[in-house]
Symmetry: C2
Amino acid sequence: MKLDDRGLLIVISGPSGVGKGTVRKALFAREKHNLEYSVSMTTRLPRVGEFDGTDYFFVTRKQFENRIKEEKLLEYSEFVGNYYGTPIDYVEDRLNEGKEVVLEIEVQGAMQVREKMPDAVFVFIVPPSKGALRDRITKRATETEDIINKRMDKAEREFGLAHKYDYIVVNDNVENAADRIMAIIRAEHAKTERTIHKYMKILEVE
Amino acid sequence: MKLDDRGLLIVISGPSGVGKGTVRKALFAREKHNLEYSVSMTTRLPRVGEFDGTDYFFVTRKQFENRIKEEKLLEYSEFVGNYYGTPIDYVEDRLNEGKEVVLEIEVQGAMQVREKMPDAVFVFIVPPSKGALRDRITKRATETEDIINKRMDKAEREFGLAHKYDYIVVNDNVENAADRIMAIIRAEHAKTERTIHKYMKILEVE
């Protein structure tokens, strides 16, 4: 496997409620793609119907903490007493197979990936308007007004990190957003810094 | 017209013989596009069937030289005693109308545009191999081996400028190359530096 044929790491992120998961699913529903979803690792127990290696890599707390110590996670966080993270080796293996690896993660996780894989492509999903975001958060939550406001506040703080991403994709319509991400992947493969060594080599060969 | 709705200036360039013109024509043959071809200005006389404002803007030598003095050309060159150039005002007007303006120019001209419009998108077209380029140059020319070699030498010197472009698009197949350019245009519109002000504004509005 030549380095040139490595896939891209695509990080799809954005505040909760912008529809990251829906956009990601629309991408994977495409007929022709070379995408691979990055399976996360977690310490929580499998739910009925979940399979190890498909839904998550299920590990013990000790195994997860060893991974942290050995710096074998691209990013991780703790949520309601359980760890969630992205194993580096899984991502690297898929990239070396030439797959485009898609991570769908929270903003804080994306910032960790940026440190470790500056070469990845960072896509920030935004809602078409603040009103649309509030609608989504309200619809999803069975929560009180207070909790909805807290989520809106968190989302607004996270919008302030948009400048740290390479692309901003508005989720006005899921298929449009997925189209834009497919175009981004295609364009990134043509970027001079990614391809110049390859073409300089080709042009040496008669 | 808001600044945000301005089109992109797409500069398609590369050594002679790589098929810039064919790729450009394939782009404009697409069913749905928002592209506008930038009409060049020249001091040469119109040929039969050529129209002012469609094929070229035909001007006198004095008019052209005034344009040079007034810095109203994005780029220009002299070839076999005639001037050829790109009028800035035509390009600016189309960009402000929200059109994606496509320039198809030689490498030296592209370098001039880079100075004046750093915001433009620079696409370098390369052949799939050196052999393919030689075939194209040979087929096209009724020239001697010596002239073919000179063109190959010039092309090779120009390949050395590839790193000054944003994207390298291999012309393995005209439709593939055109697809890649369409993806590049779409991705460029989603680039954070182009869109962040727009989205920050949108997210202020409930």
